[in-house]
Amino acid sequence: MNRRKFFKNSAFATVGTMLIPHFLKAYEANPFGASQSAGKTLVIVQLSGGNDGLNTVVPFRNDIYYRERPTIGIAPEKVLKLNDEIGFNPALEALKGLYDDGLVTVVNNVGYPNPDRSHFRSMDIWQTASDSNKYLTTGWLGRYLDANCHGNDCLAHRAIEVDDTLSLALKGQELTGLALLDPKKLYNQTRNGLVQELSKMKPDAETTAAHPNVSYLYKTLAETASSANYIYDKSKVTHTQTVYPTTELGNRLKTVSELITSGVNTNVYYISISGFDTHINQPGQQERLLRQYAEAVAAFTKDLKSTGKLNDVLLMTFSEFGRRVKQNASNGTDHGTANNLFLIGGGLTPGRVFNEAPNLTNLDEGDLKYSVDFRSIYATLLREWLKVDDVAVLGRPFETLKIVSQS
């Protein structure tokens, strides 16, 4: 048999540090990497399904709103007022508290040119930051990893999605983020059966040259195991004192908080929650989800305050599109376009309503027109929050917005 000479490091023939591949050894020595993106952390909460922005931030002075939404419109006296025009859905009471503390910025009318009303496509566009007529195979946070990967600094866990599977947003050309629902679960997965032993094998130079995909697979496995190990190790001693609601988002934000407190070298966290596709009987469903959202975020913010991290963490919440201005016949709303977006944290200048309320008289086929391209927000977060080159990630310059405190 023409047996290939393959793995140099046999799990059985060698001992000790020989087992650890070089590219892992390199950062064991320098686990925090060279740069920490200015010590800032970005947390993204994606509301999947298309959250109805007009019933989230309600234009309570607008007659058209009440005319188009006779049964699902939220009465002015119930609205938690932010200014003379708009206010929060009453289910966002916990968020209103944060707003009053100057921790929340509301950006209205966020969208992109030629909007797509399909969940999948629009979510693709938000996750890849592409134009609506282009198809990218990498996500904007994956490209953030690519662009900021230097030498020993190329770590999957610099961007973590708190879930079992990884979203396109975190997939780059060279690097992808790490998905974990909780550090222990991932750690156990990498200790299971063959995985642990296989993660220590490294194809030799000959194999790498002849079969680059073999070495790619083993490299991915080794990095996963190493990241899982590192994160589990760092985080197992950290347990927050703050009480979180026992909802999916509550649990996930708690995991994020514990990871941040543990000092892991992660700059970006990603969470998605679903259920916002409210075609039928919207009010009960949406209010339940918004209340869960607000309460989880309030607990997270309180937790950050208690650990002194509030000024170093910024949370952004978006949805792939807003919904039609006019309600449908089932007490629900159908897919729309532009939407509002929240930024939450202590590093904002100053927390407020950033721009004009939606214009309900100037619609595009019954849908809101956007005035802020979502990529302007990404550019701002990249350049002014994470302090990295936004053009390298987004492919071209977008106007940045004055939302991050310069102090």
Partner: protein, 478 residues
């Protein structure tokens, strides 16, 4: 040995692998003969049958609703039934890939599904028609395939050509037909798209889900496309696209990437080969079978750098696993669950550009899940990974029922029989030779051998080793 590896390579690329028995049948056959058999096995075409009864489409349902013949709850039920039926279609097609005779046809249909990517969740009849179009023409003539897909209601709806009307053109279809289906970027101008969109005005479908040319919304004026002027209709544009050599080059390159090597190396010889193949494709008036035959019988196809160079897509992985061990799932959930968790749901491509493929399939979590998959299927292991909701209230069903077992019948006896005559000390290498594109390394081998209990019977040895070999990162490649 080398010859057997070559045959494995052929079966994997021209299908979803072969059972050990099938492979043995070919022991004394030439590659040419096997290729001929692959084509003859795929000669006949059987359409996927209608599933879930006759489902009225959304518009018909709305009509019934307005006439008071249907209430809201029933409407919701009907939409749900429709989506359920599309999932049934997915499973039926998957069955063809996993155990059908025409593996080559299904493999190529999978390629065309990624090439002519289309998703339509509202009308199972349209989806069925589209799926059967790409299956029927999978090995035929690319021009016929292009025309049939372009006229399929599922595609026309997906790319908004129903809204493409005289005086209010919608360019979506015209753009994608050039950018993704034929010429590729940079081989047309925005002006070409605008003018071609006018030619496609009127192409649409009726309530029965049949193609119709709606003359009254067609723009019958003169159009200039690729420098040629005439009162073109849609068919004329398709013809003009096929006349362009760039179409042959674009499609051939994509096909070679799919069949031969994910990372098409940029070195000169390969490009010359692709040019030659594209020439042949163009000269033959786009004969798909002829092109495939040339590829499968060329020495280049069997060069070591191309063997094991392809990362199996989730559908290839699952179909291959099923084919190797004659696996039949008792229910459809595991099939949908694997597709969903690993990111390739048939009939739900991510967008019109299809699945990016290659290394895009692999990230930390998908790799761990792939390595766990043989355990789930062969040992009915515990399912602990939950795929994401995609946000659409109507597809949430797909994500549920995660905690059920992978109940399946596995044809272990046939598999074990195929290795009956192999001596004990050669068993692991023989299994690896059958399951992997490259032989095991020394360290892999020791790791696997250590998993077999001392007192294990022959049958237990085979099962343990097979499951373990299929759990290697190397099994992701073919």
């Amino acid at each position: 040995m080398k010859e057997r590896a070559n045959k494995q390579h052929l079966f994997w690329r021209a299908g979803f692998g072969a059972s050990p028995d099938r492979l043995r049948e070919t022991e004394h056959q030439s590659v040419r003969k096997i290729v001929r058999k692959l084509f003859s096995d795929s000669q006949s075409f059987t359409p996927l049958p209608t599933v879930g009864g006759e489902q009225p489409n959304r518009r018909e349902l709305k009509g019934l609703l307005q006439e008071g013949k249907l209430d809201r709850d029933k409407l919701k039920d009907r939409i749900r039934e429709n989506r359920e039926a599309i999932r049934d279609l997915n499973v039926l097609w998957m069955e063809q890939m996993a155990s059908g005779r025409g593996a080559l046809r299904e493999k190529m249909a999978l390629f065309w599904h990624g090439h002519f990517a289309c998703r339509n969740q509202n009308n199972v009849r349209m989806v069925q028609q589209y799926t059967n179009v790409i299956r029927e023409h999978a090995l035929g003539n690319f021009g016929d395939l292009l025309m049939a897909v372009s006229k399929s209601p599922a595609m026309l709806q997906f790319l908004n050509n129903q809204q493409n009307r005289k005086n209010a053109p919608n360019e979506n279809f015209a753009r994608e037909v050039m950018e993704l289906f034929t010429l590729g970027r940079a081989n047309y101008t925005e002006h070409d798209i605008k003018e071609a969109a006018r030619a496609f005005t009127g192409w649409g479908f009726n309530a029965q889900g049949e193609f119709v040319f709606r003359r009254n919304v067609h723009d019958d004026g003169e159009k200039t496309v690729f420098g040629k002027t005439g009162p073109f209709q849609g068919e004329d544009i398709i013809k003009l696209l096929l006349e362009r050599k760039e179409t042959a080059t674009f499609v051939t390159t994509k096909l070679v990437r799919f069949l031969v090597n994910d990372d098409l190396p940029a070195d000169q010889p390969d490009h010359q080969r692709i040019d030659q193949l594209a020439d042949q494709f163009y000269q033959s008036n786009y004969d798909i079978a002829g092109l495939l035959e040339t590829i499968f019988t060329s020495d280049w196809f069997y060069e070591p750098k191309n063997i094991g160079a392809h990362i199996k897509s989730p559908v290839e992985l699952l179909a291959g696993l099923q084919r190797s061990l004659g696996i039949k799932f008792e229910q459809k959930q595991p099939i949908l669950y694997v597709q969903r968790t690993l990111g390739q749901v048939l009939l739900y491509p991510p967008n019109v550009a299809g699945w990016p493929g290659g290394r895009n399939w692999i990230d930390s979590s998908s790799l761990l899940f792939r390595m766990k998959l043989p355990d789930l299927i062969l040992k009915e292991g515990e399912v602990t990974i939950k795929p994401k909701d995609d946000g659409d209230v109507n597809t949430e069903l797909l994500a549920r029922k995660v905690n059920r077992m992978f109940a399946a019948t596995i044809d272990w006896p046939a598999f074990e029989k195929a290795f009956q005559k192999v001596r004990d000390e050669e068993l692991i290498d023989e299994l690896a030779l059958y399951l992997l594109p490259q032989p095991l390394t020394g360290s892999q081998r020791s790791l696997l051998v250590a998993r077999v209990k001392k007192e294990a019977t022959r049958s237990e040895q085979i099962r343990t080793l097979t499951t373990a070999i299929m759990s290697l990162p190397d099994y992701q490649l073919c």
